[in-house]
């Protein structure tokens, strides 16, 4: 039952990702769509937070180290009540707190500035250690991109984390999730700089590793349970994902790493995400006023 609810929220968030990127005219759909099931499961199935008190010391923290996927985080934060959903279409516009990459100081609910890849894991270590020292029971979740772990700083942090704070303040409040969608900006990760054998690498650095399908909410939930039950150090979760997941013409195509859909493309993508055939689309929209409004808004944008 919980999974059906989370799948439904993830669908809504996918729609919002496509909507805001089309309005922005630039951004990163592929990696936002690959990570959204993970973020949805975290925020609506797991995390302790209060959108009215974004600085609540006992909240759980999410650091989206692959900051270019921030449209996914914005969709989730809006759905969670941090800010109104209508603000989503200000993404990347002058004066908006919804910066192209995360700005912690601009938007309540953001835990760190990321987007310069390779830095989020170190910050997450610091958050986890700081919480341990302060005797706060909150958990920290760090989401890395697969291309991102080509950065050297990731391996400094990877080497450090299992040992940091030991033994009294071991970082068992930290779970790191790899969004392994196999594509980076220039090409497939394998072709640019293969990161395999990725599981053996993290294991050899001292991390317990769990391998899951990053679009299967039951598997994500189970992995997060396992991570939470692990004591004595952090846990690494390899989530196999599909870049552009849910949109046929975006899936597994490096072209859609950093290219926004045009409004007509976004409408088609939204229809696919919602699982409606082309012939049934007009009738469907009569039954779903929220989507109707988004589609009308995109159609108006197309005519501009």
């Amino acid at each position: 039952m919980g999974e059906v609810r989370l799948e439904s929220i993830a669908r809504e968030c996918r729609v919002q990702i496509l909507r805001m990127l089309a309005h922005a005219g630039s951004g990163h759909p592929g990696g936002s769509l690959s990570v959204i099931d993970i973020l949805t499961t975290l925020y609506f199935g797991r995390l302790k937070f209060d959108p009215k008190r974004p600085d609540w010391p006992e909240r759980d923290r999410v650091v989206l180290s692959k900051g270019h996927a921030v449209p996914a985080l914005y969709a989730v934060l809006a759905r969670a009540g941090y800010f109104p959903e209508k603000q989503l279409i200000t993404l990347r516009k002058l004066g908006s707190p919804l910066q192209g990459h995360p700005d912690r100081t601009a938007l309540p609910g953001m835990e760190a500035a990321t987007g310069s890849l390779g830095q989020g894991l170190s910050i997450s270590l610091g958050l986890a250690l700081g919480l341990k020292l302060a005797n706060v029971k909150s958990r920290v979740y760090c989401i890395l991109g697969d291309g991102e772990i080509q950065e050297g700083q990731v391996w400094e942090a990877a080497m450090s984390a299992p040992k940091l704070g030991q033994p009294q303040h071991a970082l068992d409040n930290l779970a790191v999730i790899l969004d392994y969608n196999q594509i980076q900006l220039d090409n497939f990760v394998k072709k640019v700089l293969d990161i395999e054998p990725v599981i053996a690498k993290w294991q050899s650095f001292g991390w317990p590793v769990i391998e899951i399908d990053g679009h299967d909410i039951a598997q994500i939930t189970k992995a997060l349970d396992q991570a939470e039950a692990t004591t004595g150090g952090p846990t690494f979760i390899v989530a196999h994902t599909v870049k552009g997941k849910g949109v046929s013409f975006m899936e597994n195509d490096p072209e859609w790493h950093g290219k926004a859909p045009k409004p007509a493309e976004a409408i088609k993508a939204i229809r696919e995400v919602l699982g409606v055939t082309e012939s049934a689309w007009e009738d469907y929209l009569k039954t779903d006023s929220a989507t109707r409004a988004i589609v009308d808004e995109l159609s108006a944008l197309e005519k501009k």
Binding site: A112, G115, S122, G126, L129, L133, S160
Partner: protein, 308 residues
């Protein structure tokens, strides 16, 4: 007070402050014996973290800890700190993390180890970042006050310290104020603004200049960002000539900051003394003489600048 390295004064101040404030933690990258946090680590092992030779991770971990309310001091040589500029740029400055970054072994005065260990571009780089302040204390008294201030300051700071001993220059009743400079010696012909290591040499040069009939006001610019704009305008307006002295490249350091500001509001003839090119191995005294940062060099430069 005998001469003391500002890194040593920093280590002593941390021990003292650490007893009073549990939020203080230290982070090091295998140089704790050199950055002088080693005694803090011995006394408070649960609050001292050695991240190994991995400065980027150390700075990022410090930023994360700061976001949970700890007050971390992340320490390494100034050159290795600024080498991780991109992490400072995003994880510290843009994040506005309340992290205190400590760069010791600043300048060519470290001597024999040579250029790769000399932090001489750190001010120029870090000065370009919003949010983060830069302080360089000039003696033991000032260092201890600056460290105490850093604990109270909300927001990131870069603290620039020396390996070498520093002669006392500040009066016993001195009280450090963020964004404020101190005139150590009055004068009306030229404003001599020093910071950190060479400040004592500025005072020595001023004595020689006085003997030669030139009255130099000597200012301690401990706070490099923000500048004490009020004192700078007043002094430059009065003397009409400004000379800056620092153990840092002449590009973009204190001299650069002063030139940029005066260029905007009160264009004033200026001479910037500092390091030209790369540093090199040698004894500190010889290196200061080579780069004109010793009393004789400063005196000669001021005279030439004033055509006297």
């Amino acid at each position: 007070m005998p001469a003391k390295a500002s890194r040593a004064a920093f280590g002593e101040a941390l021990l003292d402050l650490g007893a009073r404030d549990e939020r203080i933690v230290t982070l090091d990258a295998d140089l704790s014996k050199s950055t002088m946090t080693v005694n803090f680590a011995k006394k408070y092992p649960q609050r001292a973290f050695n991240l190994g030779i991995a400065e980027s991770n150390m700075i990022g971990v410090g930023a994360g800890m700061a976001l949970t309310g700890r007050i971390p001091f992340a320490c390494s040589f100034a050159c290795f700190i600024v080498g991780r500029f991109e992490t400072i740029r995003i994880s510290v400055a843009y994040t506005n993390a309340n992290l205190k970054i400590v760069g010791t072994h600043s300048g060519i005065a470290i001597g024999e180890d040579g250029y790769s260990q000399m932090g001489i571009e750190d001010i120029a780089c870090i000065r370009s970042l919003p949010n983060i302040g830069i302080i360089q204390p000039a003696d033991e008294l000032e260092t201890k006050q600056v460290i105490a201030y850093a604990v109270e300051h909300q927001g990131p700071l870069y603290l620039r310290l020396t390996r070498q001993n520093l002669e006392p220059v500040c009066p016993p009743d001195y009280r450090f104020q963020y964004g404020r400079w101190l005139a150590l010696r009055p004068g009306h012909d030229v404003t001599l603004i020093g910071t950190g290591g060479p400040l004592f040499n500025c005072l020595e040069a001023a004595k020689q200049l006085e003997a030669d009939g030139i009255s130099a006001e000597v200012i301690n610019a401990a706070c490099i960002k923000p500048l004490d704009e009020e004192m700078l305008v007043q002094s430059a307006g009065r003397t009409g000539h400004v000379v800056t002295v620092e153990d840092h490249t002449v590009a973009g350091g204190l001299g650069g900051a002063v030139a940029e500001f005066l260029g905007d509001v009160l264009p004033t003839p200026m001479k910037r003394l500092g390091v030209h090119g790369f540093g090199e191995s040698g004894d500190a005294k010889g290196l200061y003489a080579k780069h004109g940062l010793d009393p004789a060099g400063i005196t000669a430069s001021v005279k030439k600048f004033l055509n006297r």
